[in-house]
Symmetry: C2
Subunit: 386 residues, 2 copies
């Protein structure tokens, strides 16, 4: 080809390490790399669908989503927002993507958590912005510290992405730190983008949201993780009134509207009809977390960060690096030698180096077998626990 | 707010005229503005869904789509392409959006049809490009003429969007003109973006595709119009090997993946199990087209462009402008005085001025009543047809 066909915005945008590792896994592997719960779509939702699908008009919805659904999302948000401020999106991914595309200009800075979800950096870059990371540190259990954000704020800072509970560490940010940060963001007119996809999956206190303390927020959420409905692609963005129309305009041009059938079942789910199964699944995730922790103690000599939310756990392989290589090398060796999928901390930024992310969204027997293999890889003999 | 929150790329991006008009319509209106057939999702597809949904894994699919579906789309495309060249998208809208975002740089020019689908211009602008239009003229029944494209090509031309059958005129581009254009595109390394969402809806010869004559194409298609499945948000983009990975990377960051349930039913539909209903619907659209043409002749004194495809017809109101105002003013008056929704030709660019787009995707009784009202608006008494 004579001209370079690829746009500049896509140069350097590679398949994320996270996806690359998962691509190398086959069905014979124990997969502790999953970003979704192993639970099926709640049965109540499938039953509702089977009963009603023939009565539904499955043509286009309004671009911003079915009005009743927008109203319900607004009511359930816990925020003082109107239905007009809700844009129903193709999962939280599109909500995040749309949010950044609608606010970021070339040269604007967005602060992203490190370690953090790898798409943040790529989307900021595609939107023309500069991704600057704020560190989350092990000594704080990877939770947010206001000071570590503050020192990265410049005149160019347009937005900050917050993600609590946090992928990959499972940390939940404290209300105290969020409040301190909120004051600064208000003063500097920085938009808080709050990725709350794991907010319903917590094992201690209910996670707070920065949106409770600032005027200028974009809240991103979905049914994906909380209802185990990742493939339904149903999320939403809550925007300040000034941004809700541009957000809908962008969304129209990018995807037209969210899938109608998913909007229909979302209406059913958010009315509370799948609540029992949702809560049951979250309780099961708590049991799996406890299992994962006890297995790490039993089968390995590794430390870990106790997750307060999400279905991820960060296990500490820092001491193994001199012998086994960095987290990516360890992860690849685990995959080839032990057939167990883990995600290297490096996939989440330099701040994740020295850790492996394991997912306890997998079935219990796989969690136990996977962690047993990790211990075996490092030459540890299983301990008897009290 | 202290800083302007809206990104530059979104400045000037307004809700399209097409959407604005539809927003003003209420359920008491006769709607000849619809961009989707009035048929429900094929019954065979809903039955399949009801039978199988509990067996399906409705978690994430691979970002690019279910492999079997990609293979089937490649096979059905009529092009020599591999499954790896297919990205399954959230309808054709996301396919088009992704295609442009992956190739356009700031300052690049993309040629768009005028009159044409209004999103083309907005997406090109969002992608940083400059939308330059090539005119489609009434004297050619709004079909493509190579010369009218050629004179708009410059050193900066990166891509051209082709849409045959064409929204809003229903024109089908001839193979002869496509072949002439193809030679020029090859010579100048210009990418042909072929929007083929109406390609299965034709009333004369099967529409050809520029992809048969060039190496560098991005074909955009979906189930939306051909299977009456607009709300399912299931489309695809066929890309040259050099662009298929970046396309998938962008798509991953924008939406993660297309809705899984829609991919599952697409697999069923494209295997041919909904073919009978699809063909039945297209035959019905032919009858509605014939009805629409005879109603325009019976109830109005207006000329029209006989549609060769799509479910749109362009009716000529040029002679009415001195008395009634431009196409937008006529459309708004029709809405307020006669309660009939039409789309002003202006919504599709200056080249559409002097026309109204009416959709014959609506039920027959609405087509007749809507056109009767248009005649009434212009003070025409119904004629008796032979």
């Amino acid at each position: 080809m004579v001209k370079p066909f690829l746009s500049e915005r896509m140069q350097g945008i590679e398949r994320t390490l996270l996806r690359q590792i998962n691509d190398q896994a086959d069905s014979s592997c124990i997969n502790l790399g999953l970003g979704e719960p192993s639970f099926p779509t709640p049965k109540s939702i499938l039953n509702h669908l089977k009963q009603k699908v023939e009565d539904w008009n499955l043509g286009y919805s309004p671009n911003e989503g079915i009005q009743k659904l927008r109203k319900l999302i607004a009511e359930k948000s816990g925020l003082e927002v109107a239905a007009d401020q809700i844009c129903v999106t193709v999962g939280a991914e599109e909500a995040l993507f749309t949010a950044l595309m609608v606010i970021m200009n070339s040269g604007d800075e967005a602060l992203i958590p490190n370690p953090g979800f790898p798409a943040y950096e790529s989307i900021v870059k595609i939107a023309g912005g500069i991704a600057k990371s704020y560190q989350l540190y092990r000594e704080n259990n990877f939770s947010l510290k206001y000071e570590h954000v503050k020192k990265n704020i410049t005149k160019k800072t347009k937005a900050i992405i917050l993600n609590s509970p946090n992928n990959p560490s499972g940390a939940v940010y404290s209300s105290e730190e969020l409040m301190k940060l909120a004051k600064l963001l208000e003063k500097r007119s920085i938009i808080a983008i709050s990725d709350e996809v794991y907010r319903d999956i917590y094992f201690e206190e209910r996670p707070d949201s920065i949106a409770n303390y600032v005027r200028n927020y974009l809240v991103v959420n979905s049914l994906s993780k909380s209802y185990s409905m990742t493939g339904w692609r149903l999320g939403w963005c809550i925007a300040p009134p000034e941004l809700s129309k541009p957000l809908a305009n962008f969304h129209q041009l990018a995807v037209a509207c969210a899938p109608k059938i998913s909007q229909k079942v979302a209406l059913f789910a958010l009315k509370g009809f799948a609540e029992k199964e949702k809560m049951h699944n979250i309780e099961e995730l708590r049991r799996r977390r406890d299992l994962a922790m006890s297995c790490v103690e039993k089968y390995t000599d590794l430390e870990y960060v106790k997750p307060s939310g999400t279905f991820y756990m960060f296990i500490d392989v820092l001491s193994k690096i001199p012998k086994y290589g960095n987290s990516l090398e360890i992860s690849l060796s685990l995959l080839s030698k032990e057939k167990v999928v883990t995600i290297p901390g490096l996939a989440f930024g330099k701040g994740g180096e020295g850790y492996l992310r394991i997912s306890f969204a997998s079935p219990p027997e796989q969690i136990e077998e996977g962690i047993r293999r990790i211990g075996h890889f490092f030459g540890v003999r299983p301990r008897k626990l009290q």
